[in-house]
Symmetry: C2
């Protein structure tokens, strides 16, 4: 029996109508005899609403209690999906992260998976049932309920696929797959039928929202085959390959190619003197930041603006003062093997970007990343896509 | 018939004694019936001597003529190896890059391979002959002799392996394979039996000398299996895997691991105002630099000190003045999947590096790279290896 893990994100299960649609589409696959494990996120906005409730009560709610609260979100969506499947005449059972043995460390709010003891899933699959699992959550070795942080349901799904030796892990989402640039900015970008895990990781790192980087790391590390596809159409999307992706020997063999463009806007830059206190705070860091580096005694942190309150709080509570913030920044990043090895390519990028006030670049072995005011993000993505992405 | 491409670098063919030793070891393999294609570099120091001769005649020798000159180096080593094989009773034939159809662009001194038309190799293999090929060189579409730049023989070997659908590409060198850190600095580092192409690329990018990054890029792109091994012992070395490398589910699944540490010293930093002239010079750039980035209107180039004269010349010839140089810098880099996602890990690195005067860090999805005075390189590699590399 082939085992397929399918993950449905918050927007995919955002209404009862959408959930019924998914159950209906799953019915056909169920009858083909594959073992199906469905990982679900909380319905869109639920997590934010629960956060809102908590912060309405406490300015600095206990992380343990927050986790307990937030994990209610997936309980709701997983039960609703179970019900919808039953309506389709499909035998199924739902499990929380704890029930299906997702064991994590004890970092509430941003826990990391230590191992998966999913024997109950095997038992239920053997009975012919579809198994529904709450994403984003686990249980610590001290038996406390934990959450995996943003994007955690993707990680849950890939980790389960790994443990179950699943044939495939399908990530259903509200887009058709991975595009060569954001379709809201570039008209008719190309849908990539496949992309190497390596390049995908770089896209994630640079702001692509379609899949969380942790999940890609996991997929790389354990060789899990991942496909990203639309939860509305179930049509073939983008396969993330852990092996070679192209072998057309008629190509110019060593030509460096821009595979896709990622961007991340709404960034705030913190510039913080790197004191002993800051060293301590950094070693103990658990908040999400996008990029960071040290430069001549100054720590620069780029964080999504929505995390600013939390970061301010942490810095202040550690007695760190005198840091400055720059708002409304973005990174636009070109991804492709070898791009950051070629100074001439950076020169060409800068030529295209002359109007966009690039403040800083980062060049790695598979990306050129450009920091600029967020006001330019659309124009920059558009111009760079036009200049460098092939085969549109 | 399995086809195996074997590349022997400059130190491996550095004397007639070493060449005879290689021929003797190859004899055993030849009689096992595999098709052997041997790619050779010029004997150690030959290329530098030829450069010296040219610069003794002209301060700025024509690149076309330099290429013509330098390609003599591999002609010497390939003929000597042919002779040594014949002494062993092995039927063989040697080809220049041009003769065996390595077609490049026209960038003399740093040409990139466009395609390989190696039908002559197939013909000779079919006759049972060992084929010896001059590495580092090719021929442009305009029929000019070109060289591939530093590390070019590795690239020749991997490109040939790709074109010939070789079962394996073995890179023979003067070390046993890829270590978790430089054995001259860390006593008894671990020899990696295998390493993913992804991590290998990052190690190359950060200064590991064992294989050139271009060759790794090539291997990634076309899925060529590469092994790095000792030309003295022919013992099993390090396999570079294009697929997953570890699947021990008993591990802490998401724990981030430092796979190895690379370093690059003898670096000079150029700080150059990013004027229109510099923009032009960058777009046209063809010299080797290690890392580079733009920061607030200043282009910082890190180059090996031996390239300083050439870079000064290029900058001055483009009318770029008023740049500054800092000498004696190094980068020490920790490589491992996900390392640069975790600010706390940077904090821990900085803790270990307190004595080493880290001036700047670069964090990517698979590395933390630390810029410091070259005086600290050994102490830093040693301390970081001790703190973070597992399973020594």
């Amino acid at each position: 029996m082939a085992i397929i893990v399918k993950k449905f994100g918050g927007t995919s299960v955002g209404s009862t109508e959408l959930i019924r649609n998914i159950a209906h589409k799953l019915a056909a696959e169920y009858h083909s005899g594959d073992g199906l494990v469905l990982v679900v996120s909380a319905m869109a906005k639920t997590t934010d609403e629960l956060f809102g409730l908590a912060y309405g009560i406490s300015k600095h709610p206990s992380r343990r209690e927050l986790d307990m609260l937030l994990t209610a979100g997936e309980r709701i969506s997983m039960s609703l999906l179970s019900l919808a499947l039953m309506e389709e005449g499909i035998s199924c059972i739902s499990f929380t992260g704890s029930q299906c043995g997702i064991i994590t460390d004890d970092k509430h709010g941003n826990a990391r998976i230590l191992k998966v003891n999913a024997f109950r899933i095997h038992e239920e699959l053997a009975k012919g049932k579809v198994v529904i699992v709450a994403g984003f959550q686990g249980v610590s070795t001290a038996k406390e309920i934990t959450t995996l942080g943003r994007g955690g349901s993707d990680t849950s799904a890939v980790a389960l696929a790994c443990y179950l030796n699943a044939d495939k892990c399908e990530i259903y989402t509200d887009v058709d797959g991975v595009y060569t640039a954001d379709p809201r900015i570039v008209k008719e970008p190309k849908l990539l039928k496949e992309v190497s895990s390596d390049i995908m990781l770089n896209l994630c790192y640079n702001g692509s929202k379609v899949l969380h980087s942790r999940a890609v790391e996991f997929a790389c590390k354990y060789g899990v085959q991942v496909e990203i596809k639309s939860s509305f159409t179930f049509a073939p999307g983008t396969m993330i390959k852990t092996e070679k992706i192209e072998n057309n020997k008629e190509d110019k063999m060593e030509e460096r190619v821009v595979t896709a463009i990622a961007h991340k806007d709404n960034l705030t830059r913190y510039s913080i003197a790197y004191t002993e206190q800051m060293q301590e705070a950094l070693t103990d860091w658990h908040l999400e930041v996008f990029k960071y580096h040290l430069d001549r005694g100054v720590l620069e942190l780029f964080a999504e603006t929505k995390y600013v309150t939390e970061i301010d709080y942490v810095l202040e509570s550690k007695g760190i003062k005198g840091f400055s913030k720059d708002y409304d920044l973005c990174f636009v990043s070109l991804t492709g093997l070898g791009l950051g090895y070629d100074p001439a390519f950076l020169g060409k990028c800068m030529e295209v970007c002359t109007p966009f006030k690039v403040m800083r670049t980062i060049c790695t072995e598979k990306s050129v990343e450009l920091l600029m005011p967020a006001a330019w993000v659309k124009e920059a993505v558009y111009a760079l896509h036009k200049a460098f992405v092939k085969d549109k």
